[in-house]
Amino acid sequence: MDQLSDEEVEIREEEEEEEEDSDKEDQDLDKMFGAWLGELDKLTQSLDDGRSERPPQEKPPLRQETNIANFSYRFSMYNINEALNQRENVDLDALMADLCSIEQELSTINAKPNSSGSMARLGITDTKVRTIIPLVAGSGTIRAPAGQHGRPALASNFSLDDITAQLEKRVRGGQLEADPRFSELWSLSSVSSVCSCDSHRFTGTLSFFFKHSYLDRETSLILRNIAGKPSHLLTKEEQAAKLKAENIRVALEKIKEAQVKKLVIRVHLSDESSKTMMVDERQTVRQVLDSLLEKSHCGYSADWSLVETISELQMERIFEDHENLVENLLNWTRDSQNRLMFTERIEKYALFKNPQNYLLGRKETCEMAERNKEALLEECFGGSSVSVPEMEGVLWLKEDGKKSWKKRYFLLRASGIYYVPKGKAKASRDLACFLQLDHVNVYLGQDYKSKYKAPTDYCMVLKHPQIQKKSQYIKYLCCDDVRTLQQWINSIRIAKYGKQLYINFQEAMRRSEAAYDWSSLSSSSIKSGSSSSSLPESQSNHSSQSDSGVSEMTSSGHTRSQSVVSSIFSDAWRRGTQGEVRSCSHSVFLPSSVCLCSAFAHVSPLLSYQ
């Protein structure tokens, strides 16, 4: 199992010096979570150890399958843990919001639970253990006794009872409301860990709850009080609370069953700060962008992009909205210096804003009436086939392994990039294929004049996304001016993605329009309702948006509600922990004061809730 963990984690966040202005609370939280997660990780390991210690003949026949089951769980665990242990400034706030939203989605999955029925359905007998640990946060650490590791009990059906008890005792006894600043806010945050364990597999899912998101204060209190009580002695309220908790557990079971790989990623913002968030392996770049936008309250514009920068090769690429983020990030090596940037890039959709400069093969930029632009786009992308813009001209090609650049006449066709061999005319049949676009992406080279002695700094790079280091398989091309470069890059994007690119743009535009509508709506609706009950009970599952079956309205409605949750939390947290609000990342990016107002409109009324 141990060597597996190496492979599990194919992505790591860049190690980064701690920010000087990171406040103490951050660190405290870090510590707390770090310790807490470390604990869980150890538990996991001990479970794993325990299992691998079993004699080989007891090995389940479906070993491979078991590994997969573990994989998804440990993947995310490792990342969180790692990030925290490295004392990185994890944006717990954001992370929490993510987790909250996952919880909330899941809580809606099983709307009408039958307590005993669901218990039976899930096979909750003494072989499976369910634990809910009410945890009051403090700056202290929680340690499980070392004796937990490699318990012999693992050979049979492992139980978490004891560990839970230990944890609980420590939490209550030692650190209960140790920090008054937290008590106000975190007075009852419960952390639940649901583990099921049988002889064949161990999977676990970790989740965090906050009173704002799922469990209200009362429920949590009740839950704390009834811990250990036999079920027939429970009061109505207690039973209701238990039911609620049960729903969560069922939901968690579901998530576990889905075995969705989740990554905790760090997204860098252009002011050198960063955000940590969790992404689902099914999420598209668009979905991740949406949730980042919701969280950072930056004015919505279609230009917001996730940019991959490969510092070792000095190149970057804007991820396309339809791409799968996790898939792309998994190409990074373990020790990668790569970064994921969340930033506005006008070149992302410049193609659609001024199509006349890209689609007409003209040498000079020009203006065009809006209706003509639309007609042009419709003409190019609306039909059954997309024609690739006619791109051709002299470019500089870097010779393999050398720092010298050669001039060549290149042409772009739908089937790839070609060049005209020496002494030949540019008739199609004489063209030599430079490369085909199926397996390569186009990157923007940065500062190649000094790095590779390029004739200009307007360079593009073509390479397989998996290549992360210098290689003969990377092709470098240099253009005379930035306009030519942008035309080439965009034309290659059209050749590669075709209509999808236009669909992405239209979708981005639709969302930006919807975002404005919502900002006016949300402030009033939140004012009228109470904080937790006003959350729309959306049936849509955030992560299932990628299944495309979800209509646009429900999905966006859901992400909005998530935004409210996270902002409630973030504001409360900030206010409670310190007097002045630390320069939070989102306000920096607001492009205009108008957006600033609308973004805060639905937050401010909630501050009085404290």
Binding site: L360, E390, G416, I467
Partner: protein, 581 residues
């Protein structure tokens, strides 16, 4: 009113029969003339399709309520009484010639609509009729299949890559067949004229799709449209695949998803057993040129792992290679019993080249199939695994027949490169060189269904830079030399005939109006921003150019309406010219 004699030739009486003479008055309407005529012939038959054709004026007298006076018909008029629908030999894009009864009295546009209804082709506005090329050599054996497109008859002058001959032969869509000198049993071609395929749905467009494919195929084989060598090989591969799948199509029809699942599950079981039982492959690393070392290989999910021996395969592999996203290429020589799989595996450091050497055909086919699927992220359990193996087997079989071509009895499996790529490549490469290149491209399309393969072919065709261009030779106003006007679905281009370069592009989007001066055969077009161009047509008739432009503008209006009904009136307005006035 005075009665006078009108003589009418009745076709049904035979060519040699004398005209039938009836006594009429000038105020008699056409319906009355026909009634008298029918009575006079004393033939009992269905005359409902018959109408009068006025030979001198080259027009049909279809308005039965109009009087002779109104039509201006006098005793000297030569009238023919004949059916409006007559048989016509119709050459389809796929080389088949049909004999069918079409309307000779309506505008060609409507005649085409009727033909398309018969052939079940939607969107008839995209097609039209044209006169076939003069058949120079009549001595050719008539039985040779595609008599229209005989490769041997195509002049391969490498200088002119533009073909004009086609576009001067389109019929005028606003006039009827008879007016354009088309007689009963004449031969015409039915072709897609406007390269703006609208709303293609394989479910309803089986005929349309195949005919368009055939037209595209011949355009490529005859080099009416230019493409690169890579593209040609892919076209060749797709053609090969399409013809193969088309033959075996009925067997593939069982499309029960549940059965599919069961089948694939069973198949995956078979594979697992076979794979673990009998597949020891060699792993030659690049660095050791000839030293192939034998390892025990295991295929799991999308990864291959290898072990020192079978016994150690329970433990940790020496290496595990995930094939997802890698490039797989064959390196096979059946005669030399060389079965190599070349893997180009992307890694952070670049691409790793790995060669797997298989012992025999059987093993190669399985491992190759597995590698191909894995590179696409599919596992052996995927339903396409067996068919992948099959296609690799047939690929090997082709090599066999090819290598022993001396006794080539043209078995079904053998690949006839002559029918797949243009003659240029037959000159450039020997079949022995051509076959592997086509087959290389074939690997990437071998899994496509018939429809998908057809669609893919069309997509690649449509993505060619010169796609959709119809060329005519024109002389621009004020210019002294002939130039080429290319008419595309969305634009006009001016091409320098000597160099072949595009000099100027005008888009229909910016077009404000165009005028035709029918007397001096000149077209004048005005674009936004005070851009005016004028040219006279040299190779094709002015009407043809006019119709092309109007037709494309009509095609572009379709997307907005999305209705099934064809706006015939608008088409006529845009293309009719003076007929429309």
């Amino acid at each position: 009113m005075a009665a006078w004699d009108l003589s009418v030739t009745v076709e049904d009486l035979g060519l040699d029969a004398p005209p039938v003479t009836i006594s009429v008055a000038s105020d008699l309407h056409i319906g009355g003339v026909i009634l008298k005529l029918v009575e006079k012939t004393q033939i009992k038959q269905d005359w409902s399709d018959h109408a009068l054709w006025w030979e001198q004026k080259q027009r049909w007298l279809l308005r039965t309520a109009w009087t002779l006076e109104k039509y201006g018909i006098h005793a000297d008029a030569k009238l023919v009484f004949m059916p409006q629908h007559k048989p016509l030999r119709l050459g389809l894009p796929n080389g088949i010639t049909l004999r069918l009864r079409v309307c000779f009295s309506n505008p060609v546009f409507q005649t085409v609509m009727g033909i398309c209804r018969m052939l079940n082709i939607r969107h008839p506005e995209e097609l039209s009729l044209l006169r076939p090329m003069e058949e120079k050599k009549k001595k050719k054996d008539k039985n040779l299949a595609p008599e229209i497109y005989d490769l041997t008859e195509v002049p391969l002058s490498s200088g002119t890559r533009i073909t004009f001959y086609l576009h001067c032969r389109w019929l005028d869509s606003s006039r009827c067949l008879l007016q354009q000198g088309i007689q009963e049993n004449d031969k015409l071609w039915l072709r897609f004229k406007y390269y703006s395929t609208y709303d293609m749905d394989p479910k309803y467009d089986a005929v349309r799709l195949t005919q368009l494919y055939e037209q595209a195929r011949w355009a490529i084989l005859l080099e009416d449209i230019d493409c690169t060598e890579e593209e040609m090989m892919l076209f060749g591969a797709l053609q090969y695949h399409i013809s193969k799948v088309a033959q075996s199509e009925p067997q593939i029809m069982s499309n029960n998803p549940a059965m599919d699942d069961l089948d694939s599950a069973l198949q995956s079981l078979e594979v697992k057993m076979e794979g673990e039982g009998s597949s020891a492959s060699d792993l030659p690393k690049r660095l050791t040129l000839k030293g192939y070392k034998q390892y025990w290989f295991k295929f799991q999910d999308t990864s291959i792992s290898y072990f020192k021996s079978k016994e150690e395969s329970i433990g940790e592999p020496i290496q595990m290679i995930n094939l997802k996203g890698c490039e797989v290429a064959p390196d096979v020589n059946v005669a030399a019993q060389k079965f190599l799989i070349r893997l180009l595996i992307p890694a952070p450091e670049g691409m790793n080249e790995v060669y797997l050497r298989c012992e025999n055909e059987q093993q190669y086919a399985q491992w190759m199939a597995g590698c191909r699927l894995a590179s696409k992220g599919k596992t052996l359990a995927d339903s396409s695994f067996q068919s992948e193996i099959q296609s690799i087997r047939s690929f090997l079989a082709m090599q066999k027949t090819n290598s022993s071509s001396s006794s080539a009895n043209a078995s079904e499996e053998s690949i006839n490169t002559h029918s797949l790529v243009s003659p240029r490549y037959h000159k450039k490469y020997k079949p022995k060189q051509l076959t592997p290149r086509i087959l290389d491209a074939y690997q990437n399309v071998a899994q496509l269904s018939l429809t998908d393969a057809l669609m893919r072919f069309l997509q690649i065709w449509q993505a060619l830079p010169d796609f959709g261009l119809s060329y005519v030779v024109v002389r621009f106003k004020g210019s002294r030399k002939d130039e080429v006007l290319g008419i595309a679905p969305n634009r006009l281009i001016r091409i320098d005939l000597s160099v072949g370069d595009v000099v100027k592009t005008w888009r229909y989007n910016n077009m404000k109006q165009w005028n035709v001066n029918w007397d001096i055969r000149q077209m004048a077009i005005e674009f936004e921003g005070n851009v005016n161009i004028a040219f006279s047509c040299v190779t094709a008739d002015c009407k043809i150019v006019h119709e092309f432009i109007g037709g494309y503008i009509f095609m572009s209006t379709r997307s907005r309406e999305k209705s099934e009904t064809l706006n015939e009136e608008l088409f006529h307005k845009l293309t009719g010219g003076h007929e429309a006035l």
